[in-house]
């Protein structure tokens, strides 16, 4: 409750605005988010893409002047679509209207509708203002969020004397984010985040929030293209050695296999791990651009004193969750210092680029993984360096790209791919990856089956066909192999994934798709042995999704998803949901869901994206048997706050509950809740001025 009062006390004022659907994931991204949640077993905190889209809603991107990097950074266009638009402009001049986009090769009406709210067509180029001028006239945004689970889990119960394993703070999660943005030419901001169970202004968090982040980002003039101070992300090549922006793996968007985006971005999310802290600068001279960065920050990690080797301390695992709730988590906080430095040099050539990248890490304490067979080739030590060479080239209707990387032990990793627009109705993509079992990298994220790019070989091939108007068929096949053991897989393993999705859009308001996925791979027989046997585990999934905008005020969505799992243990899963979204009156939007799920257990869980408050992803996984419902209300409160001079002010209230009729205990350990239901509430205030 103290956190809620703190939030409500933090009001400010000024002006500028509009009232649209802020912070919501675009259509195809929903499936990608669900796949990502399944891979990571949790939602991502990275809402930078949503923030960028929201910025474009208020300041549409001028398609006549946007460069390739800006178009890629939108996150909605494939590489071929970007290149085709740039070529179209070069050949035929500026676009007269956004509807002319349909004439651009590779751009269809669905894509145009999707990006329409974010773009515009103007003939004049916006000039870069002087640096000091940018501190006035930009957009100020303040976001305040409060969330909590209503039932008290065992971690919040009064502990027995001597017990240290409990949550020291309150169950509330509080997020505060202030940001200033002047036409993407100057951005600065501050974030404060308290996770559930952490303290606020006491205990281990005397300074208030558990996590603070500051960023300053300036787009330059002349040779200095950009400067980042504070927290920022770096993304290099195809992610083999460094990729800290939001990135997805396999999905029905079969041509979205290439990592693309700016090298340096300001860090504006609440995640506490995947970013750098220091300074980064991008300079450009003619066709050569270079980015150089340096970072020094504290990381959380489990520090272990090795009594057998003279009391030396090493880090057995890095803590990426950012949780500092219990005594042991607090003890792990800031236990190791990480220095990072690196850079990228890129040469633009006709229709492409080549680049070299390098990054060097130094830990204040050595890393040494848990002694296990699957960790035989894992990184250990205090220093790590990576070098890579990446390229991209477009030849007519084909775009090739790739990256080859090594670490300081010369263990290699490579990815190479091609995206081809074979016909006006057919696009195809192929990607090959070969990553040594001994290849080491940090903060990397390449197009791989595993969460980290190592110990994998595979080929992905995808095709997208539009055989008739209103129809689209997408399919992919991914065959891969893990040359060495992995966590919970006690043998080298291989796997295969297939997807076939048919999408029918009879009119602009209706989408119907049916998606079938088949996956098969080797996994451990759950026999609690030190070295388990492996078995083939097959997972089949079929989803049918229907959505229609029935009127300007009402949208209805239904989905059913079925899952068949052969191992471990034959299980089936089923999920059915009905979503309704309406705007009964101006400046009020209400969405809700009714969902039933029944699965054989945790292994057959099904993930389903949910509408949440702006800039928050909710992709929970459901297993066992139960009901899920939520209601999400968004109200424009600008009139209510008019004394504060806010031009844009929105309030979200979200209530969600999951009911398990057969359970008496939900969750386990410190998160275990007695009872059959688990409810959570979120309040969010977003003020723009």
């Amino acid at each position: 409750m103290k956190e809620l009062l703190f939030l409500l006390a933090f009001l400010i004022c000024v002006a500028r605005a509009s009232c649209q659907d802020e912070g919501e994931a675009a259509g195809g991204m929903v499936q990608q988010l669900e796949n990502l949640a399944e891979q990571q077993e949790g939602e991502t905190d990275d809402d930078s893409q949503q923030q960028q889209w929201n910025y474009y809603r208020h300041h549409p991107l001028n398609l006549n002047t946007a460069g390739e990097d800006e178009l890629r950074a939108m996150g909605l266009l494939t590489e071929l679509q970007v290149i085709n638009l740039v070529r179209y402009r070069q050949l035929l001049g500026n676009l007269v209207s956004v509807y002319e986009l349909q004439a651009v090769p590779g751009w269809n009406i669905e894509l145009v509708r999707r990006i329409l709210p974010l773009v515009t067509v103007m003939s004049n180029r916006e000039s870069l203002s002087g640096v000091l001028r940018r501190f006035r006239g930009g957009d100020h945004t303040l976001l305040l969020r409060y969330a909590r689970v209503l039932q008290r889990s065992s971690g919040y119960q009064e502990p027995d004397s001597g017990q240290t394993n409990y949550y020291k703070g309150s169950p509330a999660r509080v997020l505060m984010r202030y940001k200033y943005n002047y036409k993407n030419q100057l951005q600065y901001g501050v974030i404060g985040d308290k996770d559930a169970g952490e303290q606020l202004f006491k205990g281990a968090q005397q300074q208030g929030f558990d996590f603070y982040s500051l960023h300053l980002f300036v787009r330059g003039r002349g040779h200095v293209q950009s400067l980042a101070l504070g927290d920022y992300t770096v993304s290099l090549g195809q992610g083999l050695i460094q990729w800290q922006s939001l990135a997805f793996g396999k999905s029905a968007l079969v041509t979205a296999i290439k990592r693309q985006g700016p090298v340096v971005r300001p860090y504006t999310s609440a995640g506490e791990f995947n970013f750098h802290r220091g300074a980064a600068v991008t300079v450009k001279y003619n066709r050569i651009s270079g980015t150089f960065f340096a970072s020094a920050r504290q990381l959380g990690g489990n520090a272990v004193v090795d009594t057998l080797s003279g009391g030396k301390t090493y880090i057995s695992s890095l803590q990426a969750s950012g949780y500092h709730r219990t005594a042991s988590e607090i003890a792990d906080r800031n236990s190791v210092r990480l220095f990072a430095a690196g850079g990228n040099l890129q040469l633009k050539i006709a229709n492409g680029h080549v680049g070299v990248n390098s990054i060097h890490y130094t830990f204040s304490l050595p890393l040494s993984r848990q002694q296990a067979l699957y960790n035989l080739f894992a990184f250990s030590g205090k220093r790590l360096s990576n070098y890579s060479f990446d390229w991209a080239y477009t030849l007519r209707n084909a775009h090739v790209f790739g990256e080859v990387a090594v670490d300081d032990q010369l263990h290699a990793a490579s990815v190479a791919g091609v995206i081809v627009s074979m016909d006006a109705k057919v696009d195809a993509s192929v990607l090959y990856r070969n990553l040594s079992r001994s290849f080491h990298s940090l903060f990397a994220n390449a197009f791989t089956e595993s969460a980290s790019p190592a110990n994998e070989r595979g080929v992905f091939a995808g095709i997208s066909v539009r055989p008739k108007p209103h129809w689209q068929i997408d399919a992919y096949m991914d065959i891969y192999r893990f040359p060495w053991l992995r966590y919970q897989v006690d043998a080298p393993a291989a796997g295969v994934d297939y997807l076939l999705q048919a999408t029918f859009t009879p009119d602009r308001n209706t989408v119907l798709y049916s998606s079938f996925r088949f996956g098969s791979r080797l996994g451990d027989v759950p026999d609690q042995q030190l070295l388990s046997e492996v078995e083939v585990q097959t997972r089949r999934r079929w989803r049918i999704h229907v959505s229609q905008v029935m009127s300007r005020r009402f949208t209805l969505t239904c989905r059913t998803e079925m899952l068949w799992l052969t191992a471990p243990g034959r299980q089936r899963g089923w999920l059915f949901l009905v979503d309704a979204a309406c705007k009964p009156v101006r400046y009020l939007a209400v969405s809700g869901r009714l969902q039933y799920f029944e699965t054989g257990g945790f292994e057959s869980r099904i993930y389903a994206y949910e509408n949440d408050v702006a800039y928050s992803y909710s992709v929970p996984g459901f297993y066992d048997k139960g009901w899920r419902t939520y209601i999400n209300i968004r109200k424009d409160v600008r009139n209510f706050l008019k004394i504060m001079l806010a031009e844009r002010a929105q309030l979200w209230v979200r209530f969600a509950t999951t009911f398990y009729p057969s359970k008496k205990l939900i969750g386990s350990g410190l998160d275990g809740i007695e009872g059959s239901s688990k409810s959570d509430v979120r309040l969010q205030l977003l003020i723009g001025f």
């Binding site: 029918f504 009879p506 009119d507 209706t510 119907l512 049918i544 229907v546 229609q548 029935m550 209805l556 239904c558 059913t560 079925m562 089936r572 089923w574 059915f576 009905v578 039933y596 029944e598 048997k625 009901w627 009729p661 057969s662």
Partner: protein, 254 residues
């Protein structure tokens, strides 16, 4: 929570056209009560089958008629053998709201076991049909999501059933549909069906249910306001189930 009573295996053949605007018939309400809103005039139907050519008989009676701007549907089923019978009587209302039709149904369920007596339970069902386009229809039904306890043995309850279906009327002569059915505590099943209407007089309907799996095939003829179908359903272990379907139309359907 108590034990969940599972329903006797329902006949597959009637009701598969629930997700079609012009293909829906009086039996469609057994799969989705909202489908009754697509019916016009008074219509009735009878269906019977002899499960696996054994002693087990199943009868289904359905009547639908308009009242003001709603459609009333009355259905009744009887299923069982000597010593064990199950019956159900349901009254439902369906109304068209343009693109969507909604329906609600109240169900009286009775179980009779020789030597143990009988027990009954009240259940309910709510459904929605969604006309995505002139040819495409979707819908869902939720039956007994909560409640449904038996009166004498109230630690036992009727199972919840969830259905989601999709139907495509490719032309006035061809209908294809698919339905996913999840009965509480049982593996889900898919029922896919295709119906072909030749010269508005002859019908051919085929499909499969995947839980067993169990295919079915039926052929029918329509004369004036009566339609007669002969049906056969196949179970890989238990054999063939023959059936007969008769539908009466008070008003000739276009």
């Amino acid at each position: 929570m108590g034990q969940t009573i599972h329903y006797a295996p329902a006949p597959l053949y009637p009701g598969v056209t629930a997700y079609g605007k012009t293909s829906a018939d009086v039996f469609s309400a057994t799969n989705n009560i909202a489908a009754a809103a697509s019916l016009h005039g008074i219509t009735a139907g009878v269906y019977s089958e002899r499960k696996f050519l054994l002693e087990w008989n199943e009868y289904l009676l359905a009547i639908a008629f308009p009242v003001a701007s709603t459609q009333v549907s009355i259905t009744s089923t009887y299923s069982g053998i000597t010593g064990y019978t199950e019956g159900m009587a349901a009254v439902g209302l369906a109304k068209g709201l343009g693109k969507i039709d909604i329906g609600i149904q109240f169900i009286y369920h009775i179980v009779n076991v020789a030597g143990y007596g009988s027990d009954n339970a009240i259940g309910y069902s709510a459904g929605l049909s969604w006309h995505l386009s002139d040819q495409l229809c979707s819908g869902f039904t939720i039956t007994n999501p909560v409640g449904g306890k038996f009166l004498k043995h109230n630690d036992e309850k009727l199972a919840s059933v969830y259905r989601f279906g999709l139907g495509y009327e490719a032309s006035p002569t061809v209908f294809a549909g698919i339905e996913v059915v999840q009965e509480e505590g049982s593996p889900f099943t898919l029922v896919a069906s295709v119906e072909y209407n030749w010269a508005k007089k002859f019908f051919l309907r085929a499909g499969v249910e995947t839980a067993i799996p169990s295919p079915y095939l039926g052929a029918g003829v329509s004369w004036k306001r009566i339609r007669l179908d002969v049906v056969s359903t196949y179970h890989p272990q238990l054999g063939v189930t023959p059936g007969l379907l008769i539908v009466f139309l008070a008003k000739k359907q276009e």
